[in-house]
């Protein structure tokens, strides 16, 4: 709940006037990931006044009032612009990794009031209020337009390089990375520790309270770390550390690193405020632009996976192969409408990978499966369709792509060839064509035996006794396409020989045992292997008298996607035996009966992107997705 409140706080951190400029241009061009939350969309779905009066809103305001010792009556009192986007981004450089938050403001006076207590530590430059907090490794800054919060930790290996270390006034220590410091003795907030860092800007920050803005105006630019645009190639070159005469005072070193970190953060904060919308930003990145959608409530984007993998995994590991080869950026978008909530996610692939996946995904589900679906009474289904032959053919290539450029490239090439030679892709694809459908058709009560004890009243000696009880078990039907069913038949016949399977009029029944409470039956017909719990259904399928009733929505889900999943909580609740319902918590049952259908789909490759969609229907009677979702959370919270 607390985390949710924090999330909602973050989301609601955006306010009224629509005049505020979108802040995306402030995000560095090479950001690692960006999350944006469109507050205007959210507050359209859930107006601020309504939100303030909701249980969740009240809880949130009470929580905020308590933590800030202020009295918040409305979400607007926070001073944030509720009609603009909030951005979070993560930036990785060779020297520092930062998490940053950009929140548009409607009324900066409210922020001034919020930080009034720290007024002495706030430093004003060109209308920007900057509050560095060394102990928290955080800088908070704001002007009239927006608030910027950044948290960063210095990559200690960056300062391991002796030349860099000297540049930042750091003594050089061998065995960098293994130092520890005693938390118990160190007060991080002790700011006035004289440190041997020879940069004026750093000193200024260290001596909080005696800051002189004029010095900062003339800040020494060379104290800035080379940011990702110019990664320092030689970082790892100097492995042998220069022996330093200074003693290993790890605490002092830690403080030094923190000071350097906060200096960098403060400097980069200033740059964010100075940055104009004509300067290069993440908006120059086409893949980011692809992910940005004004209709989405929230969007997430992560940079190229392969590039990141190669830039962060040490060469030592990379020589064994690049798992991420060919995989590009990732994005996700969340839409909340009147009818459903939809989360769509994509991953970019390079041309080679894309072509491979296209061949693998080039397979449609067996149309004959559709005859055996009764949509009106279905609880859920799961289907997949891939081209087994293409997969078998591509697998060695996938292997080669991953490990091909590595030290073992020759071995991998031999292995890949061996696999190709050994496997008869066509024959395998004949047995398992690559499409299957699992239907959850019903829930039914079955008698199950169990062991307990009978006690003799005379002596209390006890004997094992078999008892029965009623259990609710799912009924399902699984279908698999196969052009060559001989292997399945042979397996089943082997079962008959071992007396585990009985054959009756073409239907194989797997013997029910103590271990296996399911009664399962197998039928092979028209290139489909059926496995199901209902003998009636299988008999009808065998006789050709099975009457399916497929609705349009289910048909589309199954035929247009390589992967599809559907689940109807309402269907489940309707089929739940009353005994089970009584046993269950009433609220859970109510929740289940009121919940909307859930769909999960993946339609393969499109424009070089592989995608997946999760959709949850908003049940009738609910105004919109956000309200439904928040009500659901409220209800969940009251569940015991």
């Amino acid at each position: 709940m607390k985390r949710l409140l924090q999330l909602v706080t973050l989301v609601t951190c955006a306010s009224y006037t629509a005049t505020a400029q979108d802040l995306a241009y402030k995000i560095p061009e090479k950001a690692f990931s960006v999350l944006s939350v469109k507050s205007d969309q959210l507050f359209k779905l859930y107006p601020a006044t309504e939100f303030n009066n909701s249980t969740l809103g009240k809880k949130l305001l009470a929580h905020l009032s308590k933590t800030t010792e202020k009295d918040y009556k409305s979400i607007e009192d926070l001073g944030m612009n509720l009609s603009s986007s909030v951005y979070y981004y993560y930036n990785v450089t060779d020297s520092i990794n930062c998490h940053s938050l950009l929140i548009p403001l409607a009324d900066s006076k409210k922020i001034n009031a919020l930080f009034a207590k720290q007024a002495d530590s706030i430093w004003k430059v060109n209308g920007v209020n900057i509050l560095p907090r060394r102990a928290q490794k955080t800088v908070i800054a704001w002007n009239d337009q927006f608030l910027y919060l950044t948290y960063g930790s210095v990559n200690t290996y960056f300062l391991k390089d002796s030349a860099t270390a000297v540049r930042y006034g750091m003594p050089n220590f061998p065995n960098e990375g293994y130092y520890y410091y005693d938390d118990g003795n160190e007060a991080h907030t002790d700011v006035v520790t004289p440190l041997p860092i020879d940069t004026s800007a750093t000193d200024i920050i260290l001596q909080e309270g005696v800051m002189d803005t004029t010095v900062v105006e003339d800040r020494v630019v060379e104290s800035m770390p080379p940011v990702a645009e110019e990664p320092s190639e030689d970082t790892s070159a100097d492995e042998t550390a220069v022996e330093d005469a200074q003693p290993y005072d790890y605490d002092a070193r830690k403080r030094m690193i923190d000071s350097i970190g906060i200096t960098w953060l403060t400097n980069s904060t200033q740059r964010i405020f100075e940055k104009r919308n004509t300067e290069p930003s993440v908006l120059n990145n086409p893949s980011y632009l692809r992910s940005a959608d004004n209709n989405a409530v929230a969007t997430y984007w992560m940079a190229d996976l392969e590039g990141l993998y190669t830039s962060f995994i040490p060469y030592k590991l990379l020589k064994y192969g690049n798992m991420m080869r060919g995989y590009g950026n990732v994005n996700a978008r969340l839409y909340m409408g009147k009818e459903n909530i939809r989360l769509t996610s994509e991953m970019g692939l390079d041309a080679e990978k894309s072509a491979m996946y296209e061949r693998i995904c080039d397979h449609k589900i067996n149309k004959d499966f559709l005859k055996y679906i009764k949509s009106d009474s279905l609880i859920g289904f799961m289907s997949y369709s891939f081209n087994t032959e293409a997969y078998m053919n591509e697998m060695p290539k996938l292997l080669m792509q991953t490990y091909g450029g590595s030290r073992y490239s020759e071995e991998m090439a031999i292995a890949a060839d061996l696999i190709s030679v050994m496997l008869d892709e066509k024959a395998i694809a004949q047995v398992v064509k690559g499409d299957a459908l699992f239907l959850l058709t019903n829930l039914s009560e079955k008698q199950v035996t169990y062991q307990s004890y009978n006690y003799n009243e005379e002596t209390f000696e006890y004997k094992d006794t078999v008892m029965t009880k009623t259990e609710t078990l799912p009924d399902f039907l699984f279908m698999l396409s196969s052009d060559d069913t001989r292997l399945f038949e042979r397996l089943l016949n082997y079962g008959i020989k071992k007396e585990q399977i009985a054959l009756n009029n073409g239907i194989y029944s797997i013997t029910q045992s103590k271990k296996n409470p399911f009664s399962m039956h197998v039928l092979i017909k028209d290139g489909i292997v059926f496995l199901g719990t209902s003998l009636v259904d299988l008999t009808q399928i065998r006789n050709g008298s099975f009457k399916g009733s497929l609705d349009k929505q289910h048909k589309e889900l199954l035929t247009k996607n390589n992967l599809a999943m559907f689940f109807s909580p309402k269907g489940l609740s309707a089929r739940m035996p009353t005994r089970e319902l009584e046993k269950n918590n009433e609220k859970i049952s109510k929740l289940l009966a009121g919940a909307g259908n859930v769909y999960l789909t993946s339609a393969g490759i499109k424009d070089g992107y592989i995608s997946g969609d999760l959709t949850i229907d908003v049940p009738k009677g609910e105004e919109n997705a956000l309200k439904y979702f928040l009500n659901l959370i409220e209800e969940m919270d009251t569940l015991k």
Partner: protein, 225 residues
């Protein structure tokens, strides 16, 4: 050797939380001289469908589901450890993977050996609570006592459980049987029941009552001399 108990504990938690029922049977026979036999049985048979399904999975809710071999190994190791303990002998065990019933059987030279055993086992799994259950036998006075100290920590943990999970403990039963060579002349716990031949005493209660502190399983039993 009990290092891997952490491994078994998740299985137990999973079984308990996802299953509907289980039984714990503690069957102790005390001879005149204070030596005797103990059989502990854990019966998950009523929940075998669910456990069977869980065992098919690699992990559930982030817990690794141990394989059949791993469980057998653990129990085997536990039995081996018991064999090395002072005063404990004739250790045997059975595990039934069809019905999910496990039992362990051993003889003790003195009831104090059992207290010791519980203490050592708890210490090995880092349970820093007092021993909740101790046995005492006074040979001269022919008096057997079972002392149960309720731990409020356990209740606190129990109260933290969701209503639905508490239900599991409500339907689970704890059965304690104490057998003697002499007839029982009196016993203090009103919740217990004496056998017709007056040589055994049994108490059956929901595990929930035990962990919530509602029920007491302490008993002072006076035997005829």
């Amino acid at each position: 050797m009990f290092k891997n108990v952490r491994f078994i504990i998740p299985l137990f938690i999973i079984s308990v939380l996802l299953s509907s029922c289980f039984e714990i049977i503690e069957d102790v026979t005390v001879k005149k001289d204070g030596s005797g036999n103990m059989k502990l049985t854990l019966n998950f048979s009523q929940s075998k469908t669910k456990i069977g399904a869980i065992m098919l999975m690699d992990s559930i809710n982030g817990y690794k589901v141990p394989s059949r071999n791993e469980i057998e190994d653990q129990i085997e190791q536990a039995a081996a450890r018991l064999r090395t303990m002072k005063g404990i002998s004739n250790v045997s065990h059975t595990v039934d993977f069809t019905n999910f019933i496990a039992s362990i059987n051993f003889s003790f030279r003195n009831v104090a050996d059992v207290n010791n055993l519980v203490k050592e086992l708890l210490a090995e799994v880092d349970v820093k609570t007092k021993i909740p259950l101790t046995y005492r036998y006074n040979r001269e006075e022919a008096r057997f006592s079972k002392d149960y100290t309720f731990s409020p920590d356990v209740k606190e943990q129990y109260n933290k459980l969701k209503e639905r999970d508490r239900e599991v403990f409500r339907s689970a039963s704890y059965i304690s049987i104490l057998r003697f060579e002499n007839t029982i002349s009196s016993f203090s716990n009103q919740g217990a029941k004496m056998s017709k031949n007056q040589l055994a005493i049994m108490q059956r209660l929901p595990v929930a009552d035990l962990v919530s502190g509602k029920a007491d399983i302490s008993n002072q039993i006076q035997l005829s001399k």
